[in-house]
Structures are given as C-alpha cells and as structure tokens.
C-alpha cells in the first residue's frame, strides 16, 4: 500500500502527479506551505500515498523524514486509503456523559470495524474524535459533512442506511 498504482513509466508518473503539480502552483513552495499542501493533496488523492509525500518533500525542498514527521503528527493526515464515507464519532465531554460510548459500540457492531478502521468495501471509515463543537446536540456523530445529533444507539442503523447505497 502507498505505492503509486500506475506503473513506472515517466508518462504515467506525470499523469499521476499532475493534480499535485496543479496544487503546488498556488504556493511559494516554502516550508510554511507544507500543511496546506498536504491538506489539499489529501483532498485530491483521498489519503497521502508514499509517492505523493516524497514528491511534496522534493518540491518543497524538505527531507522526506521531516514531511513524514509532520504527516504523522497531525491526526487529520492519513497514510492508508480511506472509506468513501467518513464517520466521526464525537467523544467530547458532553457526548461522553450523554452516552457516546454506546453510539460508537453500535456503529462498530453494525460495520464490523473498530475505531480507526475502514470497511473492506471502502464504504466507511470509522473514527472517534475529540470534541466537534456541537455539544448542544450531544451525543453527536458526523458523517462526511453532515452532523447527526441527539442520538441513541437505536438511531444508528437507519442513519448508516442512508449512506450505504
């Protein structure tokens, strides 16, 4: 995993990196641009494949290890492919005292994956996150950009069904 999937010809490499080059055009390619570039690259590729990280290091004139260090420091960056739908279960204080644990357990049970894992069909990635700031609606989950609040474990199957097709 993490290798460029396109064979090794110069032409296919160029094609693979084309979106990245486009992203880099908007920046001065200095160290300060690293995090925004990684964010945009991840939006484009869905995660941060090794080849992409190497190319970014190259382009920004940083060492691979430095870039890797940044990627692994921030929880938002991912080295593995991600599901089509990202489920974020809020584990903030308010959600915790209002039963977020049960909600997470139910999702784990329904999808057959643990916290931090992706389903085999690449449909869902499940993550528990610290507060997403919608404490008034606790317990809360976010699926992609949709917030679902005031949940009980029983609400989960129906919500997941909306994203399954």
């Amino acid at each position: 995993m993490g290798q460029c999937q396109c064979g090794n010809s110069a032409e296919s490499k160029e094609k693979y990196f084309a979106p990245l080059m486009k992203i880099l055009e908007g920046y001065e390619k200095k160290e300060k641009d690293l995090i925004p570039v990684l964010q945009k690259a991840q939006d484009e590729y869905g995660y941060l494949p090794q080849d992409v990280i190497k190319e970014i290091a190259n382009q920004l004139n940083l060492s691979f290890s430095q870039v890797y260090g940044v990627v692994t420091f921030y929880s938002q960056f991912h080295l593995e492919p991600r599901g089509e739908n990202i489920i974020r279960v809020c584990m903030g204080t308010a959600c915790h005292v209002r039963g977020a644990g049960e909600v997470l357990d139910k999702i784990t049970e329904e999808l057959g994956v643990d916290d931090g894992e992706t389903t085999e069909d690449l449909k869902f990635t499940l993550e528990s996150v610290a507060c997403i700031g919608a404490c008034g609606l606790a317990p809360v989950i976010m699926i992609n950009d949709d917030t679902h609040g005031r949940l009980g474990a029983d609400d989960i199957p129906e919500i997941l069904a909306q994203y399954k097709e």
Partner: protein, 600 residues
Amino acid sequence: MGESIYRSHVLICGGTGCVSSGCKEAQDALVKELKKHDLATEVKLVETGCHGFCEKGPIMIFYPEGVFYCQVTPEDMEELVEEHILKGRIVQRLLYKEPTTKENIPSYKEIDFYKKQQRLSLANCGHIDAESIDEYIAEGGYEALGKALTEMTPQEVIEEVKESGLRGRGGGGFPTGLKWQFAHDTEGDKKYIICNADEGDPGAFMDRSLLEGDPHAIIEGMAIGAYAIGADEGYVYVRAEYPLAIKRLQNAIDQAKEYGLLGDNLFGSDFSFKLQIKAGAGAFVCGEETALMASIEGKRGMPRPRPPFPAQKGLWGKPSNINNVESLANIPLIIREGASRFNSVGTEGSKGTKVFALTGKINNTGLAEVPMGITMREIIYDIGGGISGGKEFKAVQIGGPSGGCLPENLLDLPVDYDSLIEAGAMMGSGGLVVMDEETCMVDVARFFLNFTKSESCGKCTPCREGTKRMLEILNRITSGEGRDGDIEQLERLAENIKSTSLCGLGQTAPNPVLSTLKYFRHEYEAHIHEQKCPAGACDDLLNGYVVDEDACIGCTLCAKACPVDAIEGAPKQAHIIDLDECISCGACEPKCPVDAISQA
C-alpha cells in the same frame, strides 16, 4: 442600498447546532410558502449566526414583533406564514414553553435562558447576517478601527485596553493590554498578530459561534491589535474541524478587502494590514501558543520553552502577539464605546462578560454570555434550566481538560478567574459540563486523562509518560482492580507532572484528577476498597441490584421495568432480583417508590 423595504424580517439561525437540527429544510419550506403567497418582496429572510439556544433549534425570530419560535419543522411553515405573517396571529404551539411554569413565551427577551445574559461580545451573533459586511457596519462595525486609526496613537489604544481590564479569554487570563504592551515595546522591522481559534477543549464552542456568527468582529479586533503593536500581517489559526467557521471567516476577509478595510493605508492612514487563515490539521496541543506558531511555520506543532515569549521571539523569530477569539471580539466594543463600557461589568479582578458553553445533563444546552461574578447556581439553574431528567446535580466540570470539577457546595461561588483557580478549577475557555448522580467522577477524570494522554505531543517526559501512568492507574480503578496506595500514587504523579511539564497542556493535565480527588475522594475509595461505583456507571463494578425485602411494598413497578424479567414476586409481596439474570442496567432503581432497590 437600492433594496426594497421589507415589512418583516425573519431571522433564521444558521449556526452548526441549528443546521444539524434541520434549519436549512425549514428555510427552504419557508421560501416556498412566501412565494406561494407572493410575499417574497415583503418578508426578508436573514440567515444569522448562533443564537446560543442550541437545545431548541432550529430557531426563527420574526421581526418587527420579535417573536421567538423554536424547534420549527418544514411542515410548520405554512401555518407560520398564514397565521403570523398574513393574519398577525402568534402561533402559540411553536413558542418556547418555560419548563417550570409551562407558560408560552413569545418574546425571546422574556425567556429565562436569555434574561440573565448580558450579550456584549455575542451582541451580533444571531442578530445580523453573518455573511454581510453591510449589516456589521450598520451595527457600528469598523467604527472602532476608524477611531483607532484616525484619532488614537497605538499607545492610546493599548491604554484603553489596559483600562478595560480585559483578560485573555482562552483560559490563561493574562491581561490583554499588557500583552499588547510587550509586543509593542519590542523593537522589530516585522511583527505579527495571531488569532488563536484552535478551540480544542471538549465541551467549548463559543469561538466557533463567534467565527460563524460575527466574523467581522474578529477581523476588526485583530486590525486594531495589529495597529497597537505595530504589526502589518496577521494569521487566524482555525481548527480544521470547523469548516463553516472557516468559510464564513474567509468570506468576511474577502468582503473587508473589497471595502478597503483590510489592505494598504486603511482609513487614509499609514497603517496597512493583511490577514489570512491557516487551517489546523488536528492536534489539540496547537492551542498552546508556541506550538501554534510552529504549526503555522509548517512544522510539527510542538511547544518550546518560554522565555523567549512570543512578544520577543514569535512567528519566524519575529515579535508576535497571540490572542484568543473571544478576547479579540471584545476589542471593537472597548475602543468604540470606551473602556468603561466594558469594565463597568464584572468583578474586581475579572472585568466584562464571559461566554460559557452549557452542556451535559442540563435542560438548556447552549451558549450563554454572562457578567463575570455571576454564581454557578445562576448559570446552571436560572439560565440552564436545571438538571435534565429530574436527576440530582452532582458536579460541574469547568475549564476542559485543564480544569476541574466543582461540587454542589461551591455552586454559590462567584465565577471569575481567581475564585475558580482557588477552588481548584480554572476558567479555561468556558466549557461547563454539568454532571448528575449517574456520572462517575473517577470515570470523568479517566476520560480527561485519556484525552490529554492521546494529545500529549511527546516532547517532554513528565507529560508523555506521566499522563500515561496516571491513566493506567485510573483504568485499573474503574475496572475494579484498584489497589491500596493508588490514590497517593496519583497525587504524587500529579504534583510532579504539574511542576515539571514544558507547556500548559502538561502543567494542567492532572487538574481533573486532583479536583475530583479533592471533592469526590469517597468515590475513588468506594471503587478501590468496596469494588463499587456509587454512580453505577463503571460496568466492571456492577454486580446487579438487590431489593431490601423489608422495605419493599410489592408494587411490581420494578418488575415491569426490568428488560430481562429478572425480578420476581407477587403483588403486595416482597420482590427478589435474580442476580444471575440481572444485567445491571439500573432500570428498576428509579422506579421504586420507596427506595428499596440498591446496587448489590
């Protein structure tokens, strides 16, 4: 501005809380209804920022009457248009009902949740269209910036802020004016001003609401700060988890540029200021100022020792000043109306107001801005409407992972920076999580330690290893394997971590444990010595429930409540719980009218 005159305005809350309660769908339905009745040119819809009363979302306020409708659905729109707008009759069933008196309250100013609030920094939130610079200007926006640039010297601006008594709203409580003075006094060809919008405390969302509801106030506050310290460039560091806040702020920055309120030679002066957003990438420690600057520079967000303080050596080694969102939101008011407008509110050492995020086991969750010095009891019972589900209050957690839990007997404590520290908690960013009798305080401490352990950046040993060891002990205690000496061990570790950690994250990480040990030590002892969780929350310590046969009156209510039929007994005879069957769900206990059921 060439717009038609509307006879009514409908304010629709577009904060994150209401969006997820379905305000968009309601808004679409309302647009359709208005069109149907040919009212689109007579009634104007305004999407505002957060009203704070997230519990009752989606919220709509109909002006000029100022009628507050809550929990509206798309299906209600037909009736609202036909009754309220066409016939001028209030739709009673959609009004807020006061939980105690059951009375319908039409005007939001009369609702208890708002009555005790004093909205200074939140004045515009929920009141203006957050995406319109014109509405911000109409409310006096950018007047303060104009005043500062044309009538005041930087030093006069700093004096005014000092005079106001404003202290940092991000948690530390350092006087903002003094901070500006330091940055001002440092010589430098280039300086930066930074807004810390990396609101990471679980249970706090006031910064998010301000950015979503009144983004121009932050821009104006930053521009004034930049002028005061001599900076010409600024960054707003926003959590990546707040996409709507980033969108609204970017929109506001673009508008301000277009209006010449950001850029070169503002208000015809020599002062130029440019501002940009940096989105965080998910690391709680980046809320610490030196870590935040490292993150802006494109590095791992790790703190470094201070001194040198950011005012001497900050971003890229240049003098820098970092303020929290809520602190900056107060600046335009202080400059526009003078320090006395602000320092006439509050207590001796803590001036002005503070926004609290009320969450947890409370009836009215939401955001409330109150004068400093108000008591916790007023916040929880008068504004928050008391404990939900008719349960007993146990504790309130304030200040997030750096803060502490306060028990019932401290509810009458006036809330300000100093009294909270004295009580073993801290203001933090202002998250208030209310806990009831069913919340286990050891579990709460474990929850926060788990949080700080995972968010520790790993740079210094006391925080990296110490929080891990504390968590191990807490895990042991909550799973029923606590040992003699665990409490003392926790206390020793806590003191060491506090005094030797590099940054605020580690220095405050033990607070949740220390404050729960201070006020709820008996719960720790019950877990360790009696293998019992008094709150009935720690699964591993639940051994089922028993009935006191002498007290039981045989009413059968418990047996009816049991989901697994583990309770036997004929009517009017003592009941017995079969401990082999009992799943310790606790459903029977509250049903018993004579309190005859307890944990085994």
